[in-house]
Amino acid sequence: MGGGIRLDTPCRHAHDGYRTPRSLPYDPDMLRDEIGSVADALRDLGAAETVAAATAGTAAAVLTRVGAGSGRRELFQAAENATKAVDTQRRAGGHLIRTAELLRWFAAQV
């Protein structure tokens, strides 16, 4: 899973306001709950992304069908962008769902 991802790359984002790792709770139950909670959130976000991709896919199909009879370019452009959006949503959704599954597994190991 996640071929090509560099695990030794430090995080590029600043996360001010959060506790440092040293202050993490070491109670396994608490840690499992926290990881599970993150996994649930990621799973929901991934599912929502997949649903949104379906919406954009429907839009792309309808716009393509209507645009086929049009002498203008706008509907084709709209359909093209909607199709690209479907792709990004599916990919992002897939990443999130797989990450949720990974965290679920990891939580079970804690």
């Binding site: 993490l24 991934g46 992304e49 706008e74 909607a82 990974l102």
Partner: protein, 320 residues
């Protein structure tokens, strides 16, 4: 598809894509917050899975960054389409349109006292309401135009008559005029060999054609102008500052497979070289429209719009 069907379908997708964009914004915030929580929980992990999970979350966040702009661009394109095709949300009605203003210089009027006098071109006030018909495609759009486009048709006729000469190909042009045009080179407007537009000798090709009704002429012009070929030719002419452009579309795309019912005409008898024969329009019949403008950035005026048959050149390919 009828215009109400097109409009309903587009409106529904516009709403869906706007909601999708709003949903993307909201999910973006939630994902950012979840990413922060994930760091909070997992940053201390020393094994691979937590770091892999964090890397995946960042990847998903980066990929998702492209979604919003794509959805917004799709929405913008649809809005641009509606603004161009039905800018007044009038669905093809003419109510509220301003009266046409005079544009350019008077033209024509040659051929003596019996010929129509010179005509003053008028500005195009109806085009912005005409797209909802052509967007429905050939036969369906024509049916809708016939059913409820009377106001637009009247404006189109006035505009065409002022800027061009529908008298050569319209419904009122008689078969006798078409035959005399071929046989004697008579301009239907003057009844003589004098060209009403130029005052020079009137010219006619191998065919003299007309529509069976003026509505068909108006519709054919609208289709030529709105076609992709017409749009491309017009945009090229405008980019290059030219004062004329021509467009052509297949007659079957304009009127459907029954296009012959809307057309009539005569040809010189190609076999004998003499005589005139009634045209049996072939499947590859086209509609040609010619436009001009008096100044480089002026309004496009319709010179003529007529049915034509592509010439067959040696090798069997139809020349257009």
């Amino acid at each position: 598809m009828s215009w109400p069907e097109i409009r309903t379908a587009i409106d529904a997708q516009l709403v869906a894509l706007r909601r999708a964009y709003a949903g993307w914004l909201a999910r973006r915030d939630r994902l950012a917050a979840t990413r922060g929580r994930a760091h909070h929980v997992l940053d201390g992990g020393t094994s691979a899975p937590p770091r892999e999970a964090l890397a995946h979350i960042h990847t998903a966040y980066d990929i998702g960054a492209e979604t919003g702009p794509l959805l917004a661009a799709a929405v913008t394109s649809i809005e641009q389409y509606l603004a161009a095709v039905d800018p007044d949300n009038a669905a093809g009605a003419v109510a509220g349109l301003p009266g046409p203003k005079e544009v350019g210089d008077p033209h024509g009027g040659h051929g003596g006292p019996d010929a129509p006098g010179e005509r003053q071109p008028l500005g195009n006030v109806w085009r912005r309401r005409g797209h909802v018909y052509t967007e429905q495609g050939g036969p369906a759009g024509f049916r809708d135009f016939l059913a409820r486009g009377a106001g637009l048709f009247a404006l189109h006729t006035d505009w065409h008559r002022a800027g061009g000469h529908p008298d050569r190909h319209g419904g009122a042009t008689t078969d006798r005029q078409l035959v005399d045009r071929l046989r004697y080179g008579h301009d239907p407007l003057t009844g003589k060999t004098v060209d009403w537009e130029t005052g020079k000798r009137h010219r006619c090709g191998d065919h003299a054609t007309a529509y069976r009704r003026d509505q068909a002429l108006a519709w054919a012009e609208m289709c030529c102008y709105a076609s992709r070929a017409g749009t491309s030719a017009r945009e090229t002419a405008e980019r290059q500052g030219r004062r004329a452009f021509a467009a052509q579309v297949a007659a079957c795309d304009v009127f459907g497979p029954g296009f012959r019912a809307e057309l009539r005409g005569y040809s010189r008898d190609a076999a004998s070289g003499i005589g005139i024969v009634r045209i049996d329009f072939p499947d590859n019949t086209i509609i040609r429209a010619h436009y001009r403008r008096d100044v480089p950035d002026g309004e496009w005026l319709l010179v003529t719009c007529f049915p034509d048959i592509p010439k067959v050149v040696p090798g069997g390919e139809a020349a257009t």
